[in-house]
């Protein structure tokens, strides 16, 4: 087999496996958002303009709980703050592209395009800018249309699914499944554990503010655990 030369095609191939995860996630968002009372136009606008699954689920759930606008926004934007890291990581590789291109790439900077591009750029940092840009756009090509199409399909079938299928629980299961592989270090486990405990203990606070507080505590706990562990590691090395 000859290796694929086109960086665009290599990008497509690199992110193709993500499609398997994107389909159920987007379908589920369509279903859940429809059941929460959003119409087809609203659901599609949501997926097109925000284009960040986890924060969309968070926003829908909090709006359903009648949380105030500021709490909805703070929580769902906080879910997306991880993308600052993606933006930082991509800047050295793609930062020399024209602003218009970068503005478009920013829209498509999602978990999957970041993960696939980061791996490729670390492996082959010396390839020309044009190749890196082409690879990046390749990585979003299988993912973005799938995300929109599956959201649409979910929104259309959403209303026909009867409650005995316990679909309410598909969201927690999907979120837990997404979180589990993130628990790759002790600080991540500490952050998740604090997040769960604090969210349960603070669940009585009004307007979803308990979750926001739990998130801040969990983030501090994760960062704190990292500092403690790295100090210990250094002491060990000495």
């Amino acid at each position: 087999m000859t290796p694929i030369r086109s960086p665009f095609l290599r990008g497509c191939l690199a992110s193709a496996p993500f499609v398997i995860v994107v389909i159920p996630f987007a379908l589920l968002f369509g279903v859940v958002a429809t059941e929460a009372g959003l119409n087809l136009l609203q659901v599609m606008l949501f997926s097109f303009s925000v284009f960040a699954g986890a924060s969309q689920f968070a926003a829908v759930q909090l709006m359903q709980d009648q949380a105030p606008v500021l709490v909805v926004l703070a929580t769902s934007l906080a879910v997306n703050l991880r993308m600052v890291m993606y933006s930082v990581a991509m800047a050295p590789h793609l930062g020399a592209a024209p602003f218009g291109t970068r503005a478009l790439m920013a829209y498509f900077l999602v978990d999957q395009s970041f993960a696939a591009s980061q791996l490729e750029f670390e492996r082959r940092p010396d390839q020309p800018l044009a190749d890196k840009v082409a690879f990046f756009f390749g990585t979003v090509t299988p993912v973005a249309p799938t995300w929109f199409a599956a959201t649409f399909a979910g929104a259309v079938v959403g209303e026909t699914i009867p409650p005995e299928y316990a679909l309410d629980f598909a969201v927690p299961i999907t979120f837990l499944a997404i979180c589990a592989p993130m628990l790759r270090s002790v600080p991540h486990v500490v952050a998740a554990a604090v997040s769960i405990l604090a969210a349960l203990l603070l669940a009585g606070l009004p307007y979803g503010t308990g979750l926001l507080l739990a998130a801040v505590l969990a983030m501090a706990a994760g960062a704190g655990a990292e500092v403690v562990l790295s100090r210990k590691g250094r002491a060990h090395a000495d």
Partner: protein, 107 residues
């Protein structure tokens, strides 16, 4: 409960623009510069600090059962987490959790 349309039409544009600006930040405007270590440390844990807390109440007190702890949902959540941690496979974890949920609900 249904989403209030007024809330939706405020949340949608602000969330969309805010999320876009987050993505644009360094790639589009700030360029290649190192992030302060403290900030990088905090950002690393944002997703894992929020998502588990978001679902925890729904696992222990599901709205569908009127807030009563439900063995099927609790078992499904534990299986999902366990399979996800062991196999690192998102799809594997979803399938295992779904099978557990229906098995306990319907058997």
């Amino acid at each position: 409960m249904q989403i209030d349309p007024a809330t939706f039409w405020i949340v949608l544009p602000v969330l969309a623009i805010g999320t876009y600006l987050i993505r644009l930040s360094f790639l589009g405007v700030l360029g290649s510069q190192p992030l302060p270590a403290g900030l990088r440390r905090a950002l690393r844990y944002t997703a894992v600090a929020i998502l588990p807390g978001l679902v925890a109440p729904a696992v222990l007190w599901p709205a569908a059962t009127g807030g009563e702890t439900d063995p099927a949902r609790l078992a499904a959540a534990c299986v999902t987490l366990l399979v996800g941690i062991v196999t690192r496979s998102v799809i594997g974890a979803i399938l295992a959790g779904g099978v557990t949920l229906y098995a306990v609900l319907w058997v």
